[in-house]
Structures are given as C-alpha cells and as structure tokens.
C-alpha cells in the first residue's frame, strides 16, 4: 500500500532579509499555518530564502570583471560583472550561447548562470545586487534540521530546491541542491532481465522528485511561497547530504 503524499504550503511566509533566523521563521510560520511537525516530515525550502538569510548578495559595483569574464560576457550577451560572478561560482563552463551560460557550479551541479540570474537581481537600479546560491546548501540544510529539532522536538528532513533547466526538455523543474537527514537516491530492487539475471539497480532520485513537487506548490502563489511541508514521503533516513545526486564527470555522457 502506498500512502497519500501531502504538500502543504507555509502561506504568509515573511520576506527574508540577511541575518534572519530561518529556523525561527519556519517555526513561527508552522504555528501560523496551524501545523505541527511529525516524524517523517520533510521541509522543502526555496534556495532564494536560504541565500537571503545567509546574505549571499553581491553588489555589482564591487565586482571587477577579469579579461576572461569580459570575453564570456561578449559571447553570452551578459553584463561582464555578472559573467565574472558566474566564473567565480563555477568549476567549469560547460556551454555558452547568447543569454545563457551553463556551468558546473562549485557545488557540483550543472546549472545555468551558476544560479545567479533569474529572480535574483535586485530591483534597485542605483545599486544593483545579485544573489548567489548558498555557500554550502547541504550544510545549510543540516543546520536548519538541527535547529528545528531543538525548537520543535521533531527532527525534519530538509531539502533546499532550485529551478533548473535540463538537457532535451523545455521548462525548468525543481531539483535538490541541498539535503539533510535523507537518502536522496532510493534504491529499488533490480528487475530481472529476459535471462533471469538481475539488471542494474534502478535508483529513483526521490529528493529531486520531491523538490520538483514542492516547486509546483511554490509556483502557485503570486507572492512566492518559499517553504513547503511534505508529509507522507517515507524517505529513508540517512546522515548525508545531496552529493549522491551528482553524476561523476567521468561517467557523464552529456558534458
């Protein structure tokens, strides 16, 4: 028997500012929404609020583009200062075309513009800022997990999600860029092939699937809904982060 899966938005979540205590905000928002954590609950947080709380803003006025960034900016039709930040946030540029730079982010995920464009540009035209991804999303997730355990007596599993483009398919989907307390890949029993041999084990990227599910709920609110409580997921407990989701470069046929 499968269980129902519920994704419950934390509505009226306050605007997050640098230095805010996300554990306190989430604890208060759970109460505001009439929710109490129970064992097995997963909280999915939009990357943006983690970055804001951790003050991952960079003022473009303080960015001096390198020659490499100037060149990238020309090829990608981007602001050279943004190109400089993309390079600083990346291990490798994977693809470039006008409007988009696909990189391997320093945290390992292949991501457009190192996650620092889209909704992350401040609206103050006199002092534009961009918002980088969190320094270490797995660490952010683990800290929040510990903090909420202390506050509530229940230890939730945590996923930090971001919207990501994909090879071959249009549209973005939510993916997990940081996790805590859960096994991000779910190993299913290998099926047998036509000769009775067990085929290679199928692994479902359950953390990414839940990140995607939460993204649907987050996208419903005109004013973004950055935290979603997931109940019924039955994820396996594990003291690890999200690294297992990243395909090793040497095994990746699509770089």
């Amino acid at each position: 028997m499968a269980d129902p899966l519920q994704l419950i938005p934390l509505n009226d979540f306050p605007r997050v500012e640098p230095g805010d205590d996300l554990g306190a905000l989430i604890h208060a928002s759970l109460e505001h929404n009439g929710l109490t954590l129970v064992a097995g609950d997963v909280l999915v947080l939009a990357q943006k609020i983690v970055s804001k709380a951790e003050n991952c803003y960079v003022r473009l006025a303080e960015v001096q583009p390198s020659a490499e960034a100037e060149d990238l900016a020309r090829r990608a039709l981007k602001d050279p200062r943004q190109a400089e930040l993309i390079l600083r946030e990346s291990r490798e540029v994977v693809r470039v075309r006008p409007g988009v730079v696909i990189v391997e982010h320093r945290n390992g995920y292949v991501h457009a513009n190192a996650g620092i464009d889209k909704s992350n540009i401040s609206s103050d035209p006199d002092d534009p800022r961009v918002l980088l991804l969190p320094e270490n999303p797995d660490h952010s997730a683990q800290s929040l997990r510990n903090d909420l355990a202390r506050r509530t007596g229940v230890t939730p599993q945590i996923i930090i999600n971001d919207s990501a483009g994909r090879a071959w398919r249009n549209g973005t989907v939510g993916i997990a860029i940081g996790t805590a307390g859960l096994q991000p890949l779910f190993n299913q029993i290998g099926e047998k092939d036509m000769f009775g041999n067990v085929l290679e084990v199928t692994e479902s990227a359950v953390a990414d699937e839940l990140a995607a599910a939460a993204s649907v709920v987050m996208g419903q609110a005109a004013e973004a809904c950055p935290v979603v409580l997931v109940r019924g997921a039955r994820l396996r407990q594990a003291e690890c982060g999200s690294g297992a989701l990243l395909r090793d470069r040497s095994l990746d046929m699509f770089r």
Copy 2:
C-alpha cells in the same frame, strides 16, 4: 496563497492485461478507494499499465535483428533482438555505452533503451516478451480523459509518466510522456534584469514536476501502485498534448 497539493494512490489497482479498459478499471478503483473526481483533478498513470492495456508487447522470438542491431548489441552488450526493437522505436541513437543506449524515441523524448528495458521484460523464460512504450501516449491520455468524463461527469487532466535518466545527475525521475487537457509548461512572468528589462520568460515544466511527484508515491508500494490522483495542482486547462516539453533538436545543446 498557495493550495495544498495532495497525491492520493489508487491502492489495490488490479494487474492490467492486454485489452483491459483502463477507464473502467480507474473508475472502479476510484470507488474502491472512496474517491470521487472533482474539477481540477489530475490522474497520473504509469506508462507500463497503458502499454499493457494497449498490448504493446513484442515476442522476442518474432524479432529478426538487422545488421545494424547486431552491431549496436555488441557495443551496448545487449540482446540483438532488444537492440533491434530499440532501433525500430527510435529516430536517432544519441549515445551508446555498455548496458545503455540513449536514443531519441520516435515520440520525441530522449530516453534510455527507448523505454523498453527495466521492468518491461516478461518473466517467462521460454517465450520472452518486452513491452514497448504506448504508440501515442498523448492520444492514450486524451482517450482516457474523454472516457472518464463520460463515466464520471468530471473531466480530469491526465499525465502518463515514465522514469527517465538525466544528464549530469544520478537517479531517475518521473517525466510526462503523454498528457491531455493541461498546459504542460507554466509561463511565469518574466523577472526584470538589473537594467529593468524583462528577462526571458521562465517556464516551469509543471507536467514533469507532477509526473515526478507521482513517481514518489508509485514507488512506495512493493507491488506497484500505477495510478495516482493529484488534487490541488491548479494546472491550466489546454487542449494540447505534451509536445511543448520536448526541446527542438536545433535548440538542444546536449545531443
């Protein structure tokens, strides 16, 4: 305000055999699970039951491998008859390595082994069969939508999902290979860039995100749970299929 999203498994779903009427089975299973369709409900079906109902089985004994299939089988370490079927089901071989053949399926999605390995091999060692993807999943979804509207008086939106591997990331996720009655991409208002210009519109692949969410629920049951009712998704109605999810080859940087 965002709404809660519920994913409700249709438990005890019967084993599907060729010729079965999926609309009748789903209608009965909804009743068995105490569920009544309401406006806005989405039904997500595992590809496998659609293929079974449509009798997409092929007996390997009846497959004569071509020279091209023999060659592919050697490179991929596959049964030549399976390689032959992969080629028949595909427009193009995208990548080959031992154990896996990545193709553009004739329906347009980039998919490992044209979707015909994994759990689709029959267990009868004397007469092995494989199960192909449905001939036209969008058409299958539309037929089921019409049928359930007639049976229940409520017209559900339909997604047929399958597990798919990805570039760059480990693990499979559910994706939508067929849809009916919904806009698969959700256009969000373009954000403004640092100069006040509206950036390119961000499109969320909501059909894929829900396909992924349903995959979590489907994977919970030891005996698969192949149909999930999704409530609260607020998808936009549209009389189209899933084609918008497929990136045009000319725009794809990762082939």
